[in-house]
């Protein structure tokens, strides 16, 4: 049973929300500006509530079960976050209010900057970027501005490992950089020879994801950063995988010059079915002046009686704004709540348990699925979704079959350097029972792949819809509802 579209549910003349009549004398809008027709649907409140309630029930979600999407850190989103972010004292503040009237917000943002600095080993942080990719763009623009400030305008090459996330090359390209891919070696590390070969005077920087998207910690990280730095380049850290590193190691200590955090991964803000995220950027001291404006600072120091006066500061060589206002404040409140509940010990425990869970699940699964790299993993790992004795089965089939067992599939076909990749990130909020059950189902699917491959090929059967025709979608392109009934 499928749910109609809003436009199909519309009935002419039906009303949902009403507004009071105007309490002021009215003026006519000049007729040349007047809109003739507003073809929005017409529904009652109950229509709307049912439509979205029914739609919601077609979704899988973390609140329902494990969501092991590698690279996405789908950890449980604490309910308290949702309450703190909705406190009226936060919700009802306008971004352009005089700073004296929003000292609560500014103090919170200031603290959050401080904590992110401490966790990453950075000298300064901007909270403005809206998501991970936005943080990357910000970071690469900072790298560009840094080189330009030193007159090295020829530095326009960014090195990106072949295991990197697609946003890395895309962000570099958007910043006007040349992207050069660097190969990985047999242990999943950056191939040092390839790297050395690229270390010349056009090198702007390297984008490093560490642990990388194979879930492996870059064993030569110090060598890598040394090489890049010696060549005059900077190292960008894609912090999507910070969930492995809290209290374990600080990227800044390893020579990462600039890094984005994903508050929507590491710090438990919900993914919202595709955002909003929040991608603060941290930098070492030599890049602090380039951060996007504004950042929160202390304008007047406080004393025993009075708190400091917080306000906005524009770094002297700022690359400028990367969006309107100050970033995704409501996500900052959630991340703040989460970090404040954990403290240093708690955050370290998060990463420890994330890594424990991943290694445990890898240990359980390796009997049934081929591991392309046999190493201790960090918070995630990649297996191959294929077997020689089940040649027609692909990672996709395994993923779809998982749905019939009420599981959400892992990330598929990424990283690109693993064949038929299934990238699994259990996160620290899954219990041993949950991992055991997962591994057991995966074993069963591995058996089915040999014995009843049609079960995988025709999966999923128990979901609201079956496999979709993606080709038709792209070829016939229906991107919106035709017309609203009149």
């Amino acid at each position: 049973m499928t749910e109609p579209l809003l436009c199909e549910l519309s009935e002419p003349g039906r009303r949902g929300l009403r507004f009071p009549a105007a309490d002021v004398p009215t003026t006519a809008l000049p007729s040349s500006f007047e809109r003739e027709d507003l073809p929005l649907p017409e529904l009652s409140e109950v229509d709307v509530v049912r439509h979205f309630t029914r739609l919601s029930q077609l979704n899988y979600c973390i609140d329902y079960g494990m969501y092991p999407l590698g690279s996405c850190t789908m950890k449980y989103n604490p309910k308290v976050n949702e309450e703190t972010a909705r406190l009226p004292g936060f919700v009802y503040t306008h971004p352009l209010q005089p700073i004296e009237t929003v000292q609560g917000n500014l103090a919170l943002m200031y603290e959050l900057q401080e904590w992110l600095k401490e966790i990453g080993g950075f000298a300064a942080v901007s909270l403005q970027p809206a998501a991970g990719a936005h943080g990357e763009l910000t970071g690469v623009l900072i790298i560009r501005a840094f080189h330009e400030s030193r007159g090295e305008t020829q530095r326009n090459k960014i090195l990106i490992p072949d295991s990197a996330h697609g946003t890395n090359p895309a962000s570099s390209a958007m910043s006007g950089m040349q992207v050069v891919e660097i190969a990985s070696d047999q242990r999943g590390n950056i191939d040092l020879e390839s790297l050395r070969a690229q270390c010349d005077e056009t090198l702007a920087g390297l984008m490093l994801t560490n642990p990388n998207t194979l879930g492996l910690f870059e064993e030569n990280v110090e060598e890598v950063t040394r090489l890049v730095h010696e060549a005059g380049g900077l190292v960008y850290g894609d912090g999507a995988n910070m969930n492995a590193l809290l209290g374990i190691v600080r990227p800044g200590d390893l020579g990462i010059d600039v890094l984005h955090y994903n508050l929507h991964k590491t710090f438990s803000t919900p993914h919202g079915g595709g955002g909003p995220g929040s991608g603060p950027v941290g930098v070492l001291a030599h890049l602090a002046d380039f951060l996007p404006a504004p950042i929160v600072g202390i304008l007047e120091e406080g004393d025993a009686e009075n708190p400091p006066l917080y306000g906005f500061i524009t770094p002297s060589k700022s690359i400028g704004r990367v969006k309107a206002f100050h970033g995704h404040f409501a996500m900052m409140v959630r991340a703040f709540t989460y970090m404040r509940m954990h403290g240093a010990e708690g955050l370290k425990n998060v990463s420890e348990m994330a890594v424990l869970n991943a290694n445990y699940l890898m240990a359980l699964m390796k009997k049934d699925y081929h591991l392309p790299y046999e190493r201790t993993c960090m918070h995630e790992f990649v297996v191959e979704g294929r077997w020689e004795d089940a040649p027609q089965i692909h990672a996709l089939d395994i993923s779809k079959r998982m749905m019939d067992y009420n599981l959400h599939p892992p990330t598929n076909y990424f990283p690109l350097i693993v064949h038929e990749a299934l990238m699994i990130e259990p996160t620290e909020t899954e219990s041993k029972q949950s991992l055991d059950a997962f591994a057991q189902t995966m074993r069963r699917i591995a058996e089915e792949a040999r014995q009843q491959p049609e079960l995988l090929k025709s999966a999923p059967r128990k979901t609201p819809i079956g496999r979709v025709d993606e080709v038709k979608a792209a070829k016939e392109l229906v991107l919106c509802c035709g017309v609203v009934k009149d």
Binding site: S56, H264, K348
Partner: protein, 450 residues
């Protein structure tokens, strides 16, 4: 805190892995830097953190208690209860981007509904699934125009009456590209002239002309002749809208816009000190493959049912990498959902009603303020729900006066426009009552001779 592991489970898991201790799992990390002591405040229980956050929140003054005439790109509107009741459903907010359509039809269909509503509202052909906000949506419009002309056109004409944050963001985004941005001269005479003043800047190298509707100063102009001028030179016109205004104003699709961007915050999103908001992006069919961001399309499943799926993904970073139309990945899914619920609940009539209320209240306010000695309406152009008043004293002083009376005054334009030294941008929404307006007028009057 939220890790379920008991002590004995940890031990058992380590045994299964084949290591002795947790530390053993971290041998790849350079020993010198391993396990830094982090200087963070100690962890709190939920009960304590709730109290602490309440304290932070109480250190703010809010639009609940102050009468809010501040807008400038973020507006205080009524948000119907239904919106949050839907957003609070775990099925929506704890789901990921709908990569697996079989278990994500809820999100996918909601986005499709969103795209449909944006198309209806803007009068364009297609909408994507969202951008970060109104500012980055404009920057992505530039990005797209650049791509449409395959980098052959390098000029962007940017109206000075576009939101300062949007203009700044466009500049930041363009930093690494060969694009030149012209037109946003901030002198008084330019600001006061009609959009046709931009026409002389448009040439064969112009990829995009960007205007705002209503513009940053609240003014509404008919961009028809501007559109004709751009099109005559083969360029594109992008119009950044306040979507709420489109409840009563002619949609940009009708006067020739090629791209419509917008800040979706007025459509059911709380102020929340500036975010998360919603970047709206719509365009014409011919540019759909150059458009950034996610798109949901209709199709069928293997059981013959209608189904929805992310489509044209070959434009996106995870497939095209450095050749993608944009780097965008996570966008504003939940905010798009909020606006979808909002628009569907208000519907045709409710949406008109709220837009009209804003219009009427703003006009009453402007009329009243104009009558006070020393205050002048800066522009004669028609406006929607925001307008500029020239004040007898610097805005900062007047706003302090207002604040003391419980009023959050308008935006001080001198921040962004050096010549607008005494100019306040006042926004009026349905949340403001006649009494509020009368109080504002009274206090402004006092403020003028104090």
């Amino acid at each position: 805190m939220f890790t379920p592991h008991t002590h004995s489970e940890r031990m058992e898991m380590l045994r299964t892995i084949g290591v002795k201790s947790l530390e053993d799992l971290f041998q790849d990390i350079p020993a010198k830097h391993r396990f830094p002591k982090l200087n963070l405040p100690p962890g709190l229980t939920e009960m304590e953190v709730m109290a602490e956050l309440e304290n932070y929140s109480l250190a703010n003054e809010t639009t609940k208690h102050l009468i809010c005439f501040l807008g400038a790109g973020a507006y205080y509107h009524y948000i119907p209860s239904v919106v949050d009741s839907i957003l609070r459903r775990g099925e929506f907010y704890t789901a990921y981007t709908p990569y697996q359509p079989e278990v994500s039809q809820g999100t996918l269909q909601a986005i499709f509904d969103y795209q449909s509503l944006i198309v209806a509202l803007t009068g364009m052909d297609v909408s994507n699934a969202s951008h970060y906000d109104g500012a980055t949506a404009v920057a992505e419009a530039v990005n797209m125009a650049y791509a449409v002309f395959r980098g052959k056109r390098t000029k962007v004409v940017l109206s000075p009456a576009v939101h300062p944050h949007y203009r700044e963001t466009v500049r930041t985004y363009c930093h690494g590209t060969p694009l030149r941005i012209v037109g946003d001269d901030l002198t008084m005479s330019v600001l006061q002239s009609a959009p046709e003043a931009l026409i002389p800047l448009i040439d064969e190298d112009t990829a995009l002309v960007i205007v705002q509707y209503p513009d940053f100063f609240g003014r509404i102009y008919d961009y028809q002749s501007l559109a004709q001028a751009v099109h005559a030179k083969g360029g594109l016109l992008a119009v950044a809208v306040n979507p709420l205004a489109l409840g009563i104003l002619k949609p940009p699709g009708e006067f020739g816009a090629d791209i419509v961007t917008g800040e979706g915050q007025p459509l059911g999103l709380p102020l929340s000190y500036g975010g998360p908001y919603l970047g709206i992006f719509a365009t014409r069919n011919e540019y759909v493959r150059k458009m950034a961001g996610r798109l949901v399309g209709e199709t069928v499943d293997d059981r013959g049912q209608r189904a929805f799926v992310l489509t044209l993904t070959a434009r996106e970073q995870h497939i095209r990498r450095e050749k993608a139309t944009s780097n965008i990945c996570t966008n504003q899914g939940l905010m798009a959902l909020a606006s979808t619920v909002y628009m569907s609940l208000l519907g045709k009539e409710g949406f008109k009603e709220v837009a009209n209320l804003c219009y009427q209240k703003a006009h009453y306010t402007a009329t009243r303020i104009q009558q006070i000695e020393g205050y002048h309406l800066w522009s004669e152009a028609p406006f929607f729900h925001e307008f500029v008043i020239e004040c007898p004293r610097p805005v900062e002083e007047i706003n302090q006066f207002l604040l003391d009376e419980g009023i959050l005054g308008g935006y001080d334009l001198s921040h962004d426009y050096p010549e607008l030294t005494h100019h306040m941008l006042i926004a009026v929404t349905e949340m403001i009552s006649k009494e509020d307006i009368d109080l504002l007028v009274e206090v402004l009057e006092e403020a003028s001779h104090d």
